[in-house]
């Protein structure tokens, strides 16, 4: 049974990725998945100051997830919300899994994600953008990091729900996945599911993440080719 927008269960919405779009940042990217748009920017590694906040053994990584006031149906009040603070926390943990912070002692790495248009899947779009921004900043990473959410509509397992689809189901299972080491580094669930449901959705999510990985690699190549062609 095809979905309202004609997609198959395991099919993501159209994905567009672009690297290096914020000139001032050390690394940046824009990721659009369907109607959801995320920008990410990395500043650093740079000397941490004030000095008493430095960690002599490793870089201090901060992560800030935000929604633009105009990103969703009702205006979002600027400033951190409880939701955005929780997403910043789990996103930071997920990203830390691929960066060896010990390579950059005494420095700060600040990562910012802003959602300029929200149509479900904002935290996962943000993580995909962050992965590209970190790579674009030239930070040593053990893997790229990919992210998508899945769910169950009626009896069917589906990946990458739209805002409309989210309203018809009460479940949301986002993951962040390291495609090379095959590890799940972010995992959340809102819903009411059996273990079997979860296993099946995980499978779908991981398949989608493998596709996202290819798109990420391509976006980085485009940037590097673009850069080299300018030389």
């Amino acid at each position: 049974m095809p979905r309202k927008d004609g997609r198959k269960a395991e099919e993501m919405r159209e994905v567009k990725m672009e690297v290096g779009i914020i000139k001032n940042a050390n690394g940046s990217a824009k990721v659009q998945i369907g109607k959801t748009i995320a920008f990410a920017a990395v500043y650093g590694p740079r000397e941490m100051h004030p000095k008493h906040l430095q960690d002599n053994e490793k870089a201090v990584l901060t992560c800030t997830y935000m929604m633009a006031p105009f990103s969703t149906t009702e205006r979002v009040r600027p400033g951190p919300s409880r939701r955005s603070q929780e997403i910043s926390l789990v996103t930071r943990a997920a990203l830390e899994s691929v960066i060896n912070l010990k390579d950059y002692p005494k420095t700060a790495i600040d990562l910012y994600i802003i959602i300029t248009q929200a149509n479900a899947g904002t935290r996962t779009a943000g993580i995909n953008a962050a992965s590209l921004a970190l790579a674009d900043a030239g930070i040593q990473m053990t893997d790229l990091i990919t992210s998508i959410a899945g769910g169950k509509i009626g009896d069917e397992y589906v990946v990458d729900l739209t805002g409309d689809e989210e309203k018809t189901t009460a479940c949301d299972l986002p993951i962040a996945y390291l495609p090379r080491s095959k590890k799940v580094t972010l995992l959340q669930l809102d819903g009411d599911l059996t273990k079997t449901d979860i296993k099946n959705i995980l499978k779908l999510n991981i398949k989608a993440c493998e596709k996202l990985y290819e798109i990420q690699v391509k976006a980085l190549k485009n940037k590097w080719d673009g850069s080299s062609s300018k030389e």
Partner: protein, 257 residues
């Protein structure tokens, strides 16, 4: 430095299937649940897990429904990790850790439809009951999520509706009527240390674990919330094993109510 020595020691123990306090990997510390510890509140509970202790209180009030759920009550959850409970906590507004604590517990209850929110509607679109669940941590020695989850459930189960007369809540007077609780939801938090999964991490274990996963289950064994913490990745097999553990231990925990 000290942490590193302790880390290696606890990891080495894990490889020998042992824990620093002698527990099995699937063994909780001693759990004690007391209810009505704040008799003036609509509901309350004190949960002790080893030396971790949290107090949860339920307050109720009448308010307006959200526009998109005009015939449903509202559940709100808060938690304060106050320096009173541990030298590790700082003063000030709730930080990300206490927000996560409250939200993870809240999601498990909410997604299970543990409370029949439609029964908390007084007048559609106008007046509904708000259920406010607040956690105050008394002493932090690890695994605050499970302690808070058990406390929230026990406090909700013990709660009595306040008197409501002529459109006004009579604060301080409770009726005999409990909250419409349909499901008992409990979180089980599993730590990974030295590649091994173990439940109910103590503070010393939390300091050395590299990944953490909390899984909330309801009476029929369904899973209603999951939250992975920390940065190390879990394999799909580990996630599946964690689900098995959480379903099994959840069943045992529900007997405590």
């Amino acid at each position: 430095m000290y942490i590193n020595v302790q880390k290696r020691f606890i990891e080495r123990l894990a490889k020998e299937q042992r824990r620093i306090d002698g527990r099995a990997f699937d063994e909780f510390r001693k759990i004690k649940i007391e209810t009505d510890v704040v008799p003036q509140a609509e509901g309350s509970a004190m949960v002790t897990i080893g030396e971790t202790q949290v107090m949860v209180g339920v307050k109720m009030d009448v308010g307006e429904p959200f526009p998109d759920t005009p015939d449903e009550g509202v559940l709100m959850s808060g938690a304060e990790l106050h320096p009173m409970a541990s030298p590790r906590f700082e003063s000030g507004p709730p930080g990300p850790e206490s927000i996560e604590l409250a939200r993870v517990v809240d999601r498990g209850i909410r997604e299970a439809h543990a409370i029949d929110m439609k029964k908390l509607c007084i007048e559609e679109g106008e007046k509904i009951w708000m259920v406010m669940v607040d956690t105050h941590v008394i002493n932090h020695q690890g695994n605050l999520i499970d302690a808070t989850g058990l406390g929230a459930m026990a406090a909700l189960l013990s709660a009595k509706m306040p008197k409501y007369e002529d459109g006004v809540v009579v604060f301080g007077e409770k009726t005999n009527k409990g909250l419409p609780v349909n499901h008992k939801v409990v979180p089980v938090t599993i730590a990974r240390i030295g590649g091994h999964l173990m439940i109910d991490p103590s503070l010393e274990e939390e300091d050395v674990m590299d990944a953490r996963i909390t899984i909330s289950t309801k009476d029929n064994g369904n899973i209603t919330a999951m939250q992975k913490g920390l940065s190390a990745g879990l394999s799909v097999e580990e996630i599946e094993k964690a689900m098995e553990i959480a379903v099994k231990k959840g069943k045992e925990l529900r007997k405590l109510f």
